[in-house]
């Protein structure tokens, strides 16, 4: 399977990438690791006329301690996130979930920014950012803006990034004392989650994000409210599927996914010591 032809632009800087996006509008697609985009292009489900390769923007590959949060460059590879001491110390949930993304080959080239910007509800990392209440930094022709994770995902493979914007940084609040649990249910090694749950408990406040329970990554707000009011793990987990609209596919129908969401949420919360 070979993608439809396209013009290829290799961006040597963020400005060059943004200029290419400005020139080509919605005809253009950014290429980071390509491990979500290229499979779609090979199936010709995506047929961008212009591919803007940002894979070499090493200045967007970093993990730094920025005081109250970790700043992670959008082009940081999964492998770097997974093995980072900073991420392990201050965002253990993110390190753990990243180690479950695909397989080692995928993690050597896939980027955190690509994983988030793709907006796939079946991806693992969006749920973590939802649970940890991360902030996304987008850069466009008129500068940078911050987007709260709850405003970032807008639909199936849709985000609030404009055609001429790119995701440059992911800001994850530092939670050195947090406890957390990550549950991913799949039937074959390397697969995406049929359902996944990312849960974090930080001091008295909790965060729970769900994988593959709706057309976009979602927050289990009912579970969080129950936990914050002192409910047990199993009582809180009982409402995990409330308000969701789970997809139906070869792996599972909505009812089974709802069941999984409740069971996995309970397990994630128990792992987090609730």
């Amino acid at each position: 399977m070979i993608p439809l032809g396209f013009d290829y632009i290799r961006a040597e800087s963020t400005d060059e990438a943004l200029a290419a996006l400005a020139d080509h509008g919605d005809e253009a697609k950014l290429l980071a690791g390509g491990h979500s985009l290229l499979p779609l292009m090979k199936l010709r489900l995506a047929t961008p006329a212009v591919l803007v390769d940002i894979g070499r923007l090493d200045n967007l590959s970093y993990i730094t301690d920025a005081g109250d949060h970790l700043a992670i460059g959008a082009l940081t590879r999964h492998r770097a996130v997974e093995t980072s001491d900073l991420v392990r110390s201050f965002a253990g949930l993110l390190a753990e979930a990243t180690s479950h993304v695909g397989d080692p080959q995928v993690r050597h080239i896939g980027t955190i920014g690509g994983s988030i910007a793709h907006g796939d509800p079946a991806s693992d990392l969006p749920s973590v950012l939802v649970a940890m209440r991360a902030t996304l930094v987008a850069q466009g022709p008129s500068g940078k803006r911050e987007i709260a994770v709850d405003d970032f995902f807008t639909g199936f493979l849709e985000t609030s990034l404009a055609d001429n914007e790119m995701l440059t940084e992911i800001r994850v609040p530092k939670m050195p004392d947090a406890t957390w649990g990550f549950q991913k249910f799949n039937r074959r090694a390397q697969d995406w989650a049929i359902v996944g749950v990312a849960a974090v408990v930080n001091n008295a406040s909790s965060g729970v994000g769900l994988v593959n329970m709706d057309s976009l990554p979602v927050r289990a707000a009912g579970v969080e409210a129950a936990l914050d009011a002192g409910a047990s793990a199993s009582d809180a987990a009982a409402v995990a599927a409330d308000g969701t609209n789970p997809p139906s596919d070869l792996n599972a129908g909505p009812e089974y996914r709802e069941h999984l969401a409740r069971v996995l949420t309970r397990r994630a919360l128990e792992a987090a010591g609730r």
Binding site: H35, L38, G102, D103, P104, H108
Partner: protein, 153 residues
């Protein structure tokens, strides 16, 4: 578009379409057919090669993404008639039957030991989760990787 890469120490430079997949560049343009195509959908790992020492699936990369990089394929492992220790372990442990998955499996296994020189059996199994084998049931593959790790310790 001109794509220049170093594969197994040799420089290749060819004018290819931007949509050329890396695995096709390696097999058809550079003529190194040791790297196999299994699924063509990034699932089986048969096409695994090293880019700058790290395992990647070359069916899910464009050749232009590898421009200027250093690649190693299965052909680049042996030193003349002397097999790479991982190849030798696969041979000794009978870690292949039809051999179709083997080039990718060996490349993934070498990358795995680079990152984790003395893995547990479970770590080997998880570390090779991106590579499928239709023949061996994995048992001897895992044994070979553990054997190689021990032999190199």
């Amino acid at each position: 578009m001109e794509v220049a890469v170093t594969i197994n120490g040799q420089t290749y430079s060819h004018d290819v379409e931007p949509r050329t997949l890396l695995v096709h560049y390696i097999r058809d343009t550079a003529g190194l057919t040791g790297t196999n195509i299994g699924c063509d959908t990034s699932s089986c790992g048969a096409c695994t090669v090293h880019i700058n020492g790290e395992s990647v699936k070359s069916c899910t990369m464009l050749a232009v993404q590898a421009d200027g990089q250093t690649l190693t394929t299965i052909e680049g492992l042996a030193d003349g008639d002397v097999l790479h220790p991982m190849q030798e372990s696969f041979r000794q442990c009978h870690a292949l039957q039809c051999g179709y998955c083997t080039p990718g499996m060996v490349m993934a296994a070498i990358s795995l030991l680079d990152e984790n020189p003395s893995p547990t059996e479970r770590e080997v199994r998880i570390g090779l989760e991106g590579n499928l084998c239709r023949c061996t049931g994995y048992h001897n593959i895992v044994k070979a990787v553990l054997h190689c790790a021990e032999a190199s310790a």
